[in-house]
Amino acid sequence: MSLKKLTGSLQKDLPVLKQMFGDSMDLYAKNLRIRGVECAACMFDGLSSTEKLWVILLDLLSRDGPPMPDGRALTDYILHASDLPVEATPVETFDDLVTRMTAGMTVLLVDGSPVAVALSSQLLAYRSVSEPSGEGNIRGSREGFCDLLRVNISLLRRLIRTPDLVIEMHTAGDLTGTEVALCYNRRLAPPELVEKVRQRLQNTKIPLLLDSSYLAPFLQRGPFSFFQQAGYTERSAAACAKICEGKLVLLVNGSPFAMILPHFFIENFQSLDDYATKAYFASLLRALKFLAFLLAVMLPGVYVAIAQFSPELFPPQLLYKVAAAERATPLPLFLEMIFVLILLEIVREAGLRLPKPIGHTVSLVSALIVGDAAINAGILSTPVVIVAAFTSISMFVIPALYEPATALRLLFTLAGGVAGLLGVACMFAVMAVSACNTDFLGMPYTAPLVPARPGMLRDGMFRFSWRVLARRPYTIREEVPPHETED
């Protein structure tokens, strides 16, 4: 990128532009004369529409008028006296020129004028706004973010029609120059939080930026944790709800995933549907999801620990079945469980990365071969496969916690296999410390549960009715330090 200013001479500026893009075949530069002044219309084929461009230019060319004395006069006329669809700010540098052209505009270089004019002739092909595939909801808006930043911003603006919504543009990615939009409610978002995120965004040095998740390591600091301090959503309604809680939303051009900052542990168990159903039912669902998380993480470890170290804890009938099944298999229980868990992860990865029709085949083959043949052959025991399958099903209830839960599940199994229930307890302590020690700019990841805040009861582990929530809506200002700890 260059901050070099335009010279105002077509003979000089046009070759520089062509040189910058290495004479790329999609660079379109057409010389023409308007009101007696030499000009050049520059755009990228595919990003801009030549039809639109020529409609604009023909309109301009067809207007009768005296010839312009020089380029400056023509630029002034186009910018201030014509009714053409031009951008309000003229282009002054090559850097700006590149930004406008890659955004789909046509830039009109005018000989004798040190500034150029950007014409709105965008024709950007993009995936249309559709229902997100990975975030199912029964009620509420069906709209999901698409890949184009401007469209995503418009989705937000359409939902929050108050002047409090602020959208700041930043650029990140040395090689991609990707636009990043920082969206927040200026009345609700803590100013120190906005300032810190803005600073970190500006200091981000990353070669390429293709998804909002690339920014996460630059925005969240602190010691290692199993958990993420940033959340993601594909739903514009969910992003809007988070902005209304005072949180920040980052939209990255080319990514349909909005990053939410800060993100709390309890949010992994919440969904938009919670607010559309009865409060008691939403609370029940949250409790179920929490239980599913504990099962997904701890069940294999607890099973291995009990079966291997404290079998007397099983009811007698179950104990006989487990003992008989284990006696018939060659591997020790602990290794068998690890083997099945790893196998399940491999099957999942295979099903996810392959084209959909083959993905189904993978599921079928793994179900038949692993689930049936391996048990019939006595290589795996039925209780182990049942526990692993139950764990996987529980995991689907909380997809946002998939990454930490997978790692923790293996660690819990390892700890349970090595040290029994003590190992499971120690691993639980490690998990608890990891979650409790995570925070985003002083706001605990475990808020509002730990330390307990009023928000915990209103809209945390439980959800109160809208009448109560409306009386005192939850905002993250309640979590702003100093109220508890900072090392």
Partner: protein, 324 residues
């Protein structure tokens, strides 16, 4: 520099850590509920008075001897807690877990907590306290059918037994001094200490009453009184809820280890700031190893209490003069 933690949270983390030795008892209490309640009531004001100089002595400009004795007591306490938890776990679960794996797993988890710092430990204490509260409710529900008020023993003149039981209640543990060390001012430290002592006494008394109401006169002779109560309980078909209780209590022991080790390391950083002065850790470690090898758990607890008494006595010494 000590991290900023609200006074409420400081009290909470210390109180939660203090629950571990109460629940993981491995020796008979030797006293019934009535005597325990009276001893606790008498011990709280006495301990509070005893701990008054702690805030002054443990201040950064306080006598080195005071902080040194406190650090030594913490080291002995960590060793004691490791030993007590191991003994409790092996006695109650009857697993053949080797000492090596026990130490490896517990120390790994403990060091992770220490690495997290006081902020992480304090928030984790909230989680463990919630778990402990839930466990307590479950324990009560599970033994509600076996609670007999008539089992509570009434001693006509408990004075003699009280004098015998009081020294055990007055035995100092390092966690009693932690609020004074963590609080920004001695006055705030005294307030938190009072709250922690009151909480500790209430729980001790409640456990004694619960134990005696379930076990009757046999309560005082039980090696694992609280565990025995838990083992007797059951809800519906769930007859082995003791495994849940043991797991929760082990978490509390782990929290106590994390807190004590963190405090010990912080103190040592202040006491031995230079690399040259850290050679003192070698004789200190050797003394601790000898203590571990030669003393019983009970003797180590008395050594720990003695060191803390020495720390409190040293706190009365005049403060170091600031060099101009």
């Amino acid at each position: 520099m000590k991290p900023k933690i609200s006074l409420r949270q400081q009290g909470l983390v210390v109180f939660t850590a203090l629950l571990a030795p109460l629940l993981l008892q491995t020796r008979p209490t030797g006293a019934g509920a009535q005597v325990t309640v009276l001893a606790c009531a008498a011990a709280v004001p006495l301990l509070w008075v005893l701990l008054l100089p702690a805030g002054r002595g443990l201040a950064p400009d306080g006598p080195v001897l005071c902080r040194g004795a406190f650090a030594a007591a913490l080291a002995v306490s960590v060793a004691c807690q490791l030993y007590q938890a191991q003994r409790f776990y092996s006695d109650t679960t009857e697993t053949d877990l080797s000492l090596f794996w026990y130490t490896a797993v517990v120390v790994a988890a403990m060091l992770y907590g220490v690495h997290a710092g006081l902020g992480g430990i304090t928030r984790t204490a909230n989680v463990f306290l919630w778990a402990c509260g839930g466990g307590a409710v479950l324990l009560l529900l599970s033994v509600v059918g076996q609670l007999r008020v008539s089992s509570l023993q009434v001693v006509a003149s408990p004075q003699t037994q009280l004098w015998q039981a009081l020294p055990a209640r007055l035995l100092l543990v390092p966690e009693f001094l932690l609020p004074a060390w963590l609080a920004p001012t001695p006055r705030q430290g005294r307030k938190v200490t009072a709250a922690v002592l009151a909480g500790w006494a209430v729980v001790t008394a409640a456990l004694a009453v619960l134990g005696e109401a379930v076990l009757g006169a046999g309560y005082a002779d039980q090696s694992h009184p609280v565990y025995t109560v838990a083992r007797l309980g059951g809800v519906s078909v769930f007859r082995r809820l003791d495994a849940v209780h043991v797991s929760i209590w082990m978490l509390l022991a782990l929290l106590r280890l994390m807190l004590s080790t963190w405090a010990l390391l912080r103190l040592l950083q202040g006491l031995l700031p230079t690399a040259r002065s850290r050679w003192l850790l070698v004789p200190g470690g050797a003394a601790l190893a000898v203590l571990l090898g030669t003393c019983t758990a009970q003797q180590m607890e008395w050594v720990c209490g003695g060191l803390l008494a020495a720390a409190l006595a040293a706190a009365l010494l005049p403060k170091r003069r600031k060099t101009p």
